[in-house]
């Protein structure tokens, strides 16, 4: 089976999982104890008001009917109307999603760019001071709450040094007219990076630490393989061994860990958005939960899961593409 068919096969496999997620989010949202209508209308609404709102949001129908309607709506790309914002959920998500996406992709970029060289150097200089330092950094990285790193960065770089802004993000592709103090596209890009720096470090540290750990242990593992010993015996230069023999073979588990870290990166993004007051998907789901806005809870949960699923599938495909040993048709053992 070729890579295209494998990709297709992975997408087909994702359909039942996605259906399961839809079902779970629907059941979750419809089990909310507080009455959303009550939340909307205040303490003493009239009977007629309650009835009209119930009819408007379809709450007067039986559960299975609502479920079928929900599935049909999703198939049409309609996630319902937010009770809190009184706009379609999809509009709200479309508005917030780019910022979260920007934050997460930049954090991964930061994590990979820092972690891969760090892991390789750490393995190459095993048990030397550089290695110890790298291991301490990665241990602290996986053990520190990301939101606290965010708070400390704000403390140092915003309050003490005044070098960075503390709130929100600016999208690099925004219109210069909408960004304060920017007149050209370059200005917008600069402002965007300026705003992005602190949240990216806060969110990316965990990923960076996790990737460093795995990169180091994989490099050590590969460097102890027979073919490396053989290459050394043949007098191949150490640098060539590292680059040609070890590095390539050590990257497969790194790809896996990047996929596995995605769920925690999404969780981290929710916290980091709260710390830096970024109006992305994270603050959207929190608003939805605080206000028992169940169409919005369902919508955001669904989009987060879809995002996660797509990420995992992309990781799998990358893995299969990079590693010729993976037989595309094989099922999990």
């Amino acid at each position: 089976m070729g890579i295209a068919r494998y990709t297709l096969w992975r997408l087909v496999q994702a359909v039942p999982v996605l259906l399961g997620v839809v079902t779970i989010t629907f059941l979750l949202a419809n089990a909310i104890p507080g009455d959303p209508v009550q939340t909307m209308l205040g303490p003493s609404p009239s009977q007629a008001e309650v009835a009209s709102i119930r009819a408007k949001y379809g709450l007067d129908q039986p559960l299975w009917q609502r479920y079928v309607n929900y599935l049909l709506d999703i198939a049409r790309g309609d996630l319902g109307r937010s009770i809190y914002y009184e706009t379609p959920v999809t509009t709200k998500i479309a508005e917030r999603f780019p910022k979260t996406m920007l934050l997460m992709l930049s954090s991964y970029l930061f994590a990979i760019v820092v972690a891969v060289p760090l892991g390789v150097i750490s393995a190459k200089r095993r048990n030397e001071p550089t290695d110890h330092a790298a291991r301490v950094v990665s241990l602290i990285g996986v053990s520190t709450p990301s939101f606290w790193i965010g708070l400390m960065l704000i403390l140092i770089f915003v309050f003490k040094l005044g070098l960075f802004p503390s709130t929100n993000l600016v999208l690099p592709w925004a219109d210069p007219a909408d960004v304060t103090g920017a007149s050209t596209r370059i200005d917008v890009l600069g402002t965007a990076l300026h705003h992005l720096a602190l949240p990216v470090v806060a969110l990316g540290t965990l990923q960076m630490a996790a990737i460093t750990r795995i990169e180091r242990s994989e490099m050590l593992d590969v460097l102890s393989q027979d073919y490396v010993t053989l290459a050394r015996a043949y007098g191949v230069r150490e640098r060539t061994i590292l680059r040609k023999h070890a590095f390539r073979n050590a990257q497969l588990p790194v790809i896996t860990i990047i996929g596995l870290q995605l769920a925690s990166a999404i969780g981290g993004a929710i916290l980091i958005e709260a710390v830096f007051s970024i109006n992305g998907m994270g603050t959207l789901i929190l608003t939805a939960i605080y206000n028992l806005d169940y169409p919005l809870i369902m919508g955001t949960t669904l989009v987060f899961s879809l995002f996660f699923l797509v990420g995992v599938i992309l990781t799998d495909i990358t893995y299969a593409y990079v590693d010729p040993r993976v037989s595309y048709g094989s099922k999990e053992v």
Partner: protein
């Protein structure tokens, strides 16, 4: 679900095996007892502890875990047990109340003492409000309460949450994974599809939705269990992959031939032989559960004020970062040190239980 994604996680130790230690031929000419002692020496708890002691980082982790757990236990007895016993009139007439221990030694972690300056810095350091005093070594919070004492009592929430969540995840995951792996076929398909679905909703999103649905924004007990339940898929996959290999072992086949019932085989053979990676993962998960619940309290989900918790302290400290930076530093350090302890101990445990994974 995946070809690569979840089966080959080298961190999980899922493929751990120790079969090569007992090479064929080495048992010749030895008594049964000698053989047993040899196995005990290589596999038993005493051996594991010995290995841990020889590994300085793991030992440091164990010390941190032990100390924090001890502190948390004392705080727990003081905060919960005294309260519980007082309900039954055990202390009637003695005037004992919640946080009696803390009050007897020092001051209550929740009372707002009159006359104590608010937002004091740590001893010997200055901020806008003057210099800290010895009575409050780490300073005071926005209500004049002692920060050190609030940290000590906050450890109760962290440790309790960490252990309960990890144990719930381990038990639930072991049951689901063992059943799924042993029976295979239809049962496996159904259970694994369910596990996969749960696994496809990002961790914190699922926890937040569940907590919201259960109306448990300020109910720590429900939050602990929710975090534990969300760990179930991970442990289920881990134990399932082990069960697949154990299931094919000769001794399981022998037990089956001898007419031992399936649940008994799972309980007596399959689980004990698959438990090593689960224990290691469980230790590491205590740390992540502490991080998760700190994050939840930071977002306003967790214990009711005035009960001290590290996450809540951090969330409050945000409003006072300019007046007193220390208020936001201490709880973060407490979380960091505790989680580092669990991570070091967990890594050490993995190395000790399975030396082949050691780098």
């Amino acid at each position: 679900m995946t070809v690569a994604g979840h089966t080959s996680d080298p961190e999980s130790g899922a493929d751990a095996g120790r079969g090569d230690v007992l090479a064929p031929g080495r048992d010749e000419g030895r008594t049964e007892r000698e053989r047993r002692e040899d196995v005990e020496a290589r596999y038993g708890w005493r051996y594991t502890l010995g290995q841990l002691r020889r590994d300085p980082t793991a030992a440091a982790g164990l010390v941190v875990v032990g100390l924090v757990t001890l502190v948390a236990a004392v705080a727990w007895v003081d905060a919960v047990l005294f309260d519980f016993l007082a309900e039954f009139g055990v202390f009637a007439g003695l005037g004992v109340e919640q946080y009696a221990l803390a009050k007897a030694v020092w001051t209550s972690p929740v009372a707002e003492p009159a006359g104590t300056p608010r937002l004091l810095p740590p001893v010997g350091l200055e901020n806008q409000f003057g210099e800290g005093t010895l009575a409050h070594p780490l300073g005071t919070d926005h209500r004049g309460r002692d920060i050190l004492l609030r940290l000590v009592y906050g450890s109760r929430v962290a440790i309790q949450v960490g252990f309960v969540a990890a144990v719930v995840g381990m038990l639930g995951g072991t049951v689901v994974g063992a059943v799924s792996g042993y029976y295979g076929g239809r049962v496996d398909d159904v259970l694994m599809r369910f596990v996969e679905t749960l696994y496809s909703i990002p961790f914190l999103v699922l926890v937040l939705s569940l907590v919201a649905v259960l109306g448990a924004r300020e109910n720590l007990t429900i939050i602990m269990f929710v975090v534990g339940v969300v760990y179930v898929p991970e442990f289920a996959r881990l134990i399932r992959s082990r069960v697949f290999s154990v299931r094919e072992e000769v001794y399981v086949e022998a037990a089956r031939a001898a007419g031992v019932s399936t649940p008994a085989i799972i309980r007596r053979h399959v689980i004990p032989n698959s438990i090593t990676p689960v224990l290691v993962q469980g230790t590491l998960r205590v740390g992540t559960a502490i991080l998760t619940v700190a994050g939840l309290s930071f977002l306003g989900f967790g214990v009711n004020p005035p009960t001290p918790s590290w996450g809540r302290m951090l969330s409050i400290s945000r409003d006072y970062m300019i007046q007193n930076v220390w208020f936001s530093i201490w709880p973060g350090l407490a979380i960091l040190i505790t989680v580092v302890g669990f991570n070091l101990f967990g890594d050490g445990l993995r190395d000790a239980l399975d030396p082949r994974l050691k780098n």
